[in-house]
Structures are given as structure tokens and as C-alpha cells.
Amino acid sequence: MEDRPGDDRPQLPPPSLWPVGFAVGIVCLLVGLVVSWPAAAVGAGLALVFGFLWAREVATGRAQVEGPPPAEPSPDAPAVPAHVGEAAMPKPEPGERFPRSRFLEGATLGLGGLIGVIVTLPAAGFAILPGFLKQKAHKVDLGPITDFEENKWKVVTFIRDPSQGEISRRTAFVRNNGLLDGVPSFTIISNRCAHVGCPVQPGGPVFQKQEKTTKTRNGAVLITPVLPAAGFICPCHGGSYDQEGNRIAGPPVRGLDRYEFDIVDGRLVLGNLYSVGKVEGSGKTARIKRYELTGPGQHVDGPEAWFYPLQPPH
């Protein structure tokens, strides 16, 4: 880069018509592309010719014009401009500050910060808070309880929230335990592994050909008979559970979660999920150590549970 004389003075526009002609050519070209090819050709020709002339002028340096030299103040001049001559006020010492400048500095920073907070807080709230507010479980109708024979396991897939569609499809393992004190008893286990949430599979044959579809207000519910003789097994990292959902091997930190349920007009209706520490016994006489729903991989009992004292709303 060469230092050119006169760089400390304002640069005057070059007295040339070539850029104007070049611009006219470009406009003609663009308009011509829309309305007429001949007009576009004329525009392209103009742009080429004037562009060449402009480039040649620039390259040969003919456009470099010296600006007028700064005007020397004449002794006969009637008045001295404000920016010429000695300053009326002495220049402030380096680092010298005045109350007004301090006030302006503080006001600018304060107002800027306030505006930043006013703009940022609602946006951050909008990004984060919906994940914690209005979280509610949806009741799911699984169909008549006659679809669930006594002491038989079924794999049931259903849509938890019809407004969300297929993405809310979930799977549960359901067993009808028969009556307990005249009330139907069910074991309903979530298929989400208590390790990191992979889908647990039944450890035994799944009878796909006997799959049955039941229409409910939550959409289609698929019911497939299964014989989980070896309990439930997670294909991701090898977590194993018995038929009550107790962890028996692998990395899971607790048992499988379970669903609450109601019997409404002879139909099985799923409610909230809850977490389980350990299940003693089995079927309708099982004693369940129940806890608030906790995410996969999080302990619900023992000293490790101290690391998860509060759970977000589910």
C-alpha cells in the first residue's frame, strides 16, 4: 500500500461521468432482463463501455485530483471562525474528569444495562420457563379391562398426548393381577430404562400375530401378548429387571417406573408415572417403595439420592 499525498485531506469525488454511465447501463441491464432481451443487451453494452472507460480512468490516475489547498486566514478577514486560532478554554489535563462527564458515563451504562435486562429477561424466560410450567400428565384410556386376561403380560403402546401426535407414543408392560379385595389389580410398568432412558424389551417371546388394536379417545392402542420369562432387558447397556421391574443386573440405579391407574366404566385408564425403589413380593400382593417421578439415572433412595433433592415438575 503506497502512501499517497493528500491522504490527510478530505477526498473529493472524481469529476467523471463514467460511473454514471456505468450505473445507467446496469439499470438498463436489470430492467431488460425482466422486460426485454434487446434492452438487456443495450444495458450490458453501456455497462461494458462505461465500465471500461471508468476503469481506464482510474488505472491511469486521471481521476486523481488534488483538493484545494487549505485556505490561509487573511489578515483582512472580518471574523475568525470558531475552530481557527487559540482555544477559548484551556485543554483539560490527561485523565481530568468533570462531574457532568461522570454523570453521562454512569447514565449511559445504567440505561444500557437496564435496556439489556428488559430485553433479555422476557426472552430468556420464554426460552426456559415453558419447560417447567403447565407440565401435566395426560390420562390415557387403554380400552376395556377384558382385553387384559388375568396373569398375562401385554405390551401396550399408546399416544400419551393426542395434541402432540406420534412423538408422544409410549410403551408399557401391563399385567392383570386379578381381584384384590374385590378391586381389579394391575401391574403397569414403563418401558423406559432407569439407566439413561432407552426402551426396555421383554425377555421372552412377543406374539406379534396376536396383536390387537383398540380404538380409544387417545387414538389407536396396540396390545400385544408377551411372555417375559426372563423379565425385562435393556438393549442399550444391558440393564436387566425382573418381572416386577426390580433391577437385577447392569447399570440401572433403581427399578422401572410404574403408572398409576384407574378403572373407569370397565376401562383401564393410565394416570401419572412414579418412580420405584424396590418391589417386594409380586402381583397384587406386591409392596412397592414409591417415590416422586425421577429422571433416568437418578437415585431415589440411599445416600446418592441426596444429590437429587428437587425434581422439576413432571
Partner: protein, 267 residues
Amino acid sequence: MARKRSARQQTMQRAVMYPLDWLEERSGLVGGVRYFLFRKVPSDTDWWHTLGSATLTAFLVQLVTGVILAMYYQPDPQHAHASIEHIQHDLTLGWLVRGMHKWGASVFIILMFMHMGRVFLFGAYKYPRELNWIVGVLLLATGLFEGLTGYLLPFDQTAYWASVVAININGTAPFVGPYLASVLRGGSEIGPDVLARFYSLHMLLVPGALIGLILLHLYLVVRLGVSSPPWSREAAGREPDPEPPPVRNGLVQPGPRPAGVRRRPAE
């Protein structure tokens, strides 16, 4: 002896330099770029020192291919996977651009680790470059988060369950983990908004953070200079290696010419 340029060459040079002079006069950008590109580096730098710029190149490839993919991708659970199939199988060169983005992501992460390993093994994280090491660690974490948010976007079974697992692993962090997982999911369960949330993070927020951190990283590299390797005789204040360094081309200033090699005479 410098050759005398003909009038035509001088005219050509003026035509080339005029726009650069114009830009330089108003912005100082040309000088800044020249300062950045032609700064001095130690004479004993070697190929290991190119891992940083290789990582930057990989990031730029991700940036360009990502912008193009965003023109066709639909972040909606109903159409996301179909749009990926469309890119892959229907659009001209879609397979190539998506492949570059998909495999380039792994290349970017691998190069980051290699660059980090080089800096660690060369001791280039020591005074006065500790802050640049910290910025690099933040870049690695942000780059990994970029990979996490991008993994869900194909929205197939692998993408879905891998993201479920990744979010739940975040959820196991003590105390804040459950809340962190809820923030990532945008609720207690993965729902239809998660895809758009991850897309927004992957497309806008995380790349913005990466660009900012990369600029800060580069600023610190330029300000503090390139470190010499640990075996550098020059940095240790001893006599330079008697073996003349190889002549390099490109941006690195060439070293002394080996004995016996004659400069080509001027024409």
C-alpha cells in the same frame, strides 16, 4: 536487483490496487488482514502447528454446508426425516453436501482434540497463554454441544434414542441435572417442540457462540504469538540448529537457503 516494471504492468497494478487502497483508506481492513496473515512465526514451527488452522477450516466447511442444508431441512417431527431423505436422494449433490456436513462434524471434533493434544504436549498452554487454553476448552465444550444438538435433526430412531440418552445423561448431574434435562427437552418429555429447539440451538445460538470464541481465540493467538516446540533451540536461547530448516512456501517466512542452492538469476 528489482526488475523495472513496464507501463502496462504499472497500469495493471494501479487498477488492482485502487479498490484495495479505497477499502484500506476507509476501514484499515487490508492492513489488518496483512498483519494477520504475514505476521512472524518461529522458524521451528512444523506440521503439528497446522492443526489449529485445519480445525478452523473444518468449522468453515460445517458453516457453509450447514447453511445450504438449512435451505431444505424442515424442523418439524412430521417432515424432518422426509426432508433429510429428500436432500439425500432427490436434490442434486444433496448427498455430497449432507455427507460433508455429517462426516465433517466428526472431522471437526477429531481435529479439535488433536489440536488440543498438540498444545498440551508442547506446553503451549503455559504462561502467558493460559487464557487461550481456557477459551480452547470452552470451544471444545461448545463444539461437542453443537454435535449433540445436530445429532437429533435427522429424526430417525438412532437420532431420537441417542438424544434421549444424551439428555438423560445430562440429567444425572448432581443438583442441577434434572433441571438441565428439562431445559434441553423443553419439558418433562421429548415433544414436538424439541426438534425446533435443537434446530435453533444448532443453527443460531451455538454457532454464534463458536464464532465469537474462535475470534477471541485467534485474537489471542495473534497477540501472544505462536509458541515454539519444546525442543526449540531458538526459544531456549541457544544457537540455532546447524541443519538448515527446509524452505517453506506459503505464508510462513522462508528460512535461510540451504548451502549449494543458488538463487535463480533475475531475468
